[in-house]
């Protein structure tokens, strides 16, 4: 295994533990360390991906190993970017483990030699997969934020403030963060779907196919389209929006597994 990749995994794991400890002990120092760990991991990860690109000559999102790795990278990246605006410290406790888990899975999975055909150099395929990974990362974070929202909403509605009430931010912040993820994720996902259609047209000569992953991909897109519409048109927010965000991600996840299992 590449030394940088090993370092990436180590940083992500250390950062996960740090964020968990921060949630429990609420010490700012621990949070700083966790944050630095995640940044370091992300930088190492970026180096790994750049090295792979230079070595192989294609954007490394072709096999399942690369996909997991790229997804982890995108999740960490989107989180760090959002962190600049929202500073939702607790979320790291969920995001860092996701990044750690995905990189660990990637390290276990074999790296099948890619048959370098001209097809794989195809710009459309790469942008299709790249955009979908990025969109998935944004929605993964929306999913995690929604979990936090539901926990906090439950605490306030049931009037039983448990462990999380004090540690989680306001409902308003959680809701608008989920909304931001949607606003970022949806155009990217849309672009990914279009790129997929273009690619399909080029390779198979038709835009649409009754392939289950295409169908589920479009269903996921529709779920998010409805959610975005409701948010914009009637000001949907809160619990219902959180549940729908989670449902959309469940479909996305299913689609993702279909790609490799189906």
């Amino acid at each position: 295994m590449n030394i940088f990749f090993a370092l990436t995994i180590a940083c992500y794991i250390a950062s996960s533990l740090g964020y968990q400890a921060y949630v429990v002990f609420q010490k700012r120092v621990i949070y700083r360390i966790a944050m630095i760990g995640l940044w370091t991991g992300f930088v190492c990860h970026t180096i790994v991906i750049a090295m792979n690109y230079v070595e192989a000559g294609y954007v490394p999102v072709q096999n399942i190993h690369e996909t997991f790795s790229a997804f982890a990278w995108a999740v960490a990246g989107v989180f760090l970017a959002l962190q600049i605006r929202f500073n939702l410290m607790v979320l790291g406790a969920l995001v860092a483990p996701v990044a750690a888990l995905c990189t660990v899975i990637a390290s276990i999975l074999s790296k099948p030699q890619i048959q370098m055909t001209p097809l794989f150099e195809n710009l459309w395929r790469t942008s299709h997969i790249g955009a979908i990974i990025l969109g998935n990362a944004a929605f993964a974070i929306a999913f995690l934020v929604s979990i936090l929202y539901l926990i906090q909403e439950r605490a306030i509605k049931s009037k039983k403030r448990g462990f999380f009430f004090r540690r989680l931010p306001s409902l308003k912040l959680l809701d608008s963060m989920g909304y931001s993820c949607l606003i970022v994720g949806f155009p990217v996902l849309t672009f990914g779907v279009i790129a997929g259609a273009v690619y399909s047209q080029m390779v198979r000569g038709r835009v649409w196919s009754w392939d289950p992953r295409v169908i589920f991909g479009v269903i996921a897109w529709l779920v998010y389209a409805v959610l975005l519409h409701e948010r914009l048109a009637v000001g949907w927010q809160g619990r219902r929006a959180a549940i729908m965000t989670m449902a959309g991600f469940a479909v996305l996840l299913f689609t993702f597994f279909l790609r490799f299992l189906g």
Partner: protein
Amino acid sequence: MNSRTTASTLNSSILPEKKKIVLIGLNHKTAPVEVREGLAFSSEDTPKALQTLREFPIIDELLLFSTCNRVEFLFTTEDVSAGVEAIKDFLARFKKTPRQAFEQSLYLYDGDDAVRHIFRVASSLDSMVVGEPQILGQIKEAYRYASDYRTCGVILNRLMHRSFSVAKRVRTETGIGDHAVSVSYAAVELGRKIFGDLEGKAVLLIGAGEMAELAVEHLVRNRARPIFVANRTFERGVEMAEKFKGTAIRFDEIHNYFKQVDIVISSTGAPGYIVVRDDFKGIMRARRNRSLFFIDIAVPRDIDPELNRIENVYVYDIDDLNSTIEQNIDERRHEALRGNRIVDKAVIQFRRWFESLDVVPTIVAIRNKMEDIRQKELKKTLATLSSASEEDRMAIDRLTAAIVNKILHNPTVFLKERGHKDKKTLYVDVARRLFHLDESNDMGRGDS
């Protein structure tokens, strides 16, 4: 050659007995309110008491601290039991109460225990509601009186400044003040968890009542606005609206306002619910699903609890708020344990300073410092004098030792003198500062 001084060589000269820090008082835990109210010192009483006690020869420095929950005398003396008797006599005379009436309730601390107690009081660890923030202000005021009437000296000045910084540390480093323990604070805390920021959140107050008004005031302080007030008697509503710089509305209009306000505080004397779930059809849609927070302080309740089931609507009644407060008090107790650890450390630090305030260790420290300087300079000079004979070197050594001794003679005699007993601590303190004996001099006046 080295003539470092040790304490035992100086102890033979008997010095006046060392001052002790003593605290005597009673509080809400030891005395019922009937006793406390009989002994409380008002802002007119305090100066009189300080002026009287200042003349007592047995009391050296003094601070008198009185709130509705406690009356405490903090003083320094050379004779603890005589000092305590003097205070008890004074209290009985000044308050015209027989000693038996309060003697049982008094607690007495001296030395480290007194220091610890005052640190704990200032940090609000000894308060009835642990973590309540007013106590520090009250102690500062007591200290201001003592300063104005010049009853504080070197020891209490340092002790009080130290108390303020300990209190500050406890507040910032533990969660002791984090949790709302009154209805209006709990309402604001919940509002923050729902809305994030209360700035610009519209508030509707229905009815009147002290608790409801306090809650509105607290929301206004957190920049919630505009404020609407609805009262069954419109004139009363107008009056209250003026108080909060808000708008009075008619009581039967309230349902229209549910479309635009964010927080509703209700406190009417109505026998049944004034807002029920059926009234709410279409309102959330009109609000574009923005959250709505009901605080129902009325008994019997004004707001149908069923409303809590509507998405993005949160209803808290008085019991809900009270149980939140109870949970918070538990949390504070837990944080108080951490506060006590901070206090314990500070007590040890203070003791170190206090012990050094004695004449003997001060003289020892000055002599040792001078001797260190002499040795260092001697070594430097002799190293350059390669031509000097052993005899010359001895002569130089004797010369420097004699100079040091001559210079220190008068200060030593002065510090040991018995005559100026009142000022002794002051002189010792000044001497330590002049010779810069306390490395960590950051715990002095500088940190207030």
